[in-house]
């Protein structure tokens, strides 16, 4: 296969950056997209150029490190597939491929295609935890839960935190990520004590990181490599509104009769 690549090159955080074009011959259809990038980098290195920096780790679709917008779609054209699980056979011979980093002011570009996603870590730190006892291990299945609820919670837990939702959202909103993380704990019995505080503190942190607001486009769901549903966003909205409007602030306050 022969392909033409247009890749975003940006040497530092402050560099303005630009698209650069490369032609690559001898691309094997069974190469993964990242292996194709490795091939490009070998070629660039041999030619004495700076290789393209890109994030990757497990290369088996579970770590959430790979982060490229390929031809305008986060993780490329194949739905529910991470970039590392995308293969060159998914492209035509002679294809022109545009590769860009996640675009969001909360995800500043570090170099080329690598962006700083530590904003997600701070959202998790704000509320992505449960309180647990530190004593002996409880008996398995000692906490009853409806299997359907457990499954739905696990659907939310499939979020690998890659940031494709933010990259896909025309508003750079992180609602799908935050909703998935808040829901996977908030739906389980173990996550109930902090449920409403979690909704508020995670949303607050999300907003302070400079993510945009959700406009219900559902573009995040469509480009999520795990196909996480916007139903979780509705759930977070519901928990957040309940926490803000209905949950008591002064539980132990004084009451008088009249």
């Amino acid at each position: 296969m022969k392909i033409k690549l247009h890749v975003w090159r940006q040497s530092t955080r402050t560099d303005k950056g630009r698209m650069e074009s490369y032609e690559l011959d001898n691309v094997v259809p069974d190469m993964s997209f990242l292996e194709m990038m490795d091939t490009l980098n070998e070629k660039l290195t041999i030619e004495g150029h700076d290789p393209v920096a890109f994030d990757h780790d497990c290369r088996e679709g579970v770590c959430g490190m790979c982060s490229m917008v390929i031809n305008g779609e986060a993780h490329g054209p194949k739905s529910e597939t991470t970039t590392c699980q995308l293969y060159m056979r998914h492209f035509k011979d002679g294809a022109e491929i545009y590769i860009e980093p996640w675009r969001a002011s909360a995800f500043p570009v570090v170099k080329d295609l690598v962006v700083d996603r530590s904003a997600f870590d701070r959202i998790i730190q704000a509320g992505g935890f449960i309180s647990n006892h530190s004593g002996p291990k409880p008996d398995p299945n000692s906490i009853p839960i409806e299997p359907e609820v457990a499954e739905t919670s696990l659907d939310a837990a499939t979020c690998i935190g890659c940031g494709a939702c933010v990259a896909a959202c025309p508003n750079g909103s992180a609602m799908l990520f935050t909703a998935a993380k808040a829901s996977h704990l908030g739906m389980l019995p173990q996550g109930q004590p902090e449920r409403f505080d979690r909704a508020q503190s995670m949303v607050k942190q999300m907003e302070s990181e400079g993510f945009g607001s959700c406009r219900n486009y559902a573009e995040c769901e469509a480009q999520c490599p795990k196909g996480i549903s916007i139903a979780f966003i509705g759930r977070l909205n519901s928990d957040f509104l309940r926490a803000s409007l209905l949950e008591p602030v002064d539980r132990r306050g004084e009451m008088k009769s009249q």
Binding site: R103, N171, S213, G234, S244
Partner: protein
């Protein structure tokens, strides 16, 4: 008060305000379209068109318990506040979102976002301009697009919509309004956290269905007047309408 402040400070809270105010404005549209359709129900025994009688009713609703125009102005104030809040929070959110995505992709592709959803700001801006124009046209009579006389609603409609440019313009804006509602009404349920996979289809059918009904109800009026199928100008004495 603290709750409202902290709610307003958040994007979800702003969206909550946008959805509640949207609901108020949507409720108004339902009433408005039902009122408009009175142009087709003819006249009273005295020869006063039902729509003129209805306009007069809105002015004196609640009399003598509440003063004349009080109910009408109360509704107008609620609607105006709802409209201002709706526009205010949406503009604030749009500015925030523009800041959150300062650089666009060289190559961009949408998989799920529909055009009406992506064009909400444009459709909203057009609707806002239309609301101002529409009030100046049919309520205050400041903009004259045909003979205009306060209270003679049927005749004013006949005069304005006999001009095809005005009629087609109104129809066009109503279609844009339909696109706005089609996304907005469903979006309201999602923002309020009321949508879930069990109801999603029903809520979307509800939003689209009601939008189609409302928009058809609105556009049938200018089309009927433009096509000349409506009975012409009605003459009757003003005393018949006001009763004094």
């Amino acid at each position: 008060m603290n709750r409202i402040q902290s709610l307003y400070a958040s994007t979800i809270g702003k969206k909550f305000i946008a959805s509640i105010t949207g609901l108020i404005l949507f409720g108004f549209l339902l009433g408005h379209v039902a009122g408009n359709l009175k142009v087709f129900t003819g006249t009273t025994a005295d020869g006063v068109p039902h729509i003129d009688e209805y306009g007069q009713f809105l002015k004196v609703a609640g009399e003598p318990m509440i003063p004349e125009m009080f109910a009408l102005w109360s509704a107008r104030v609620v609607l105006l506040v709802a409209l201002i809040l709706h526009v205010l929070v949406v503009v604030q959110l749009a500015l925030l979102s523009a800041e959150a995505r300062p650089i666009n992709y060289v190559k961009s592709r949408k998989k799920a976002a529909t055009l009406p959803a992506l064009w909400m700001m444009f459709s909203g801006l057009l609707i806002l301009c239309f609301i101002i124009f529409h009030i100046l046209h049919f309520t205050t009579g400041t903009i004259r697009l045909g003979k205009f006389e306060h209270g003679y609603i049927y005749n004013n409609l006949t005069h304005s919509f006999s001009n095809p440019v005005v009629a087609v313009g109104y129809v066009f804006v109503m279609i844009v309004l339909g696109l706005h509602l089609n996304h907005g009404v469903w979006s309201m349920f999602q923002t309020l956290g009321l949508d879930n996979p069990d109801r999603n289809k029903s809520l979307r059918v509800f939003a689209t269905g009601l939008t189609i009904v409302i928009i058809l109800g609105f556009i049938v009026v200018p089309i009927s007047f433009m096509s000349g199928m409506m009975p012409g100008v009605v003459t009757y004495s003003h005393e018949l309408l006001t009763g004094h």
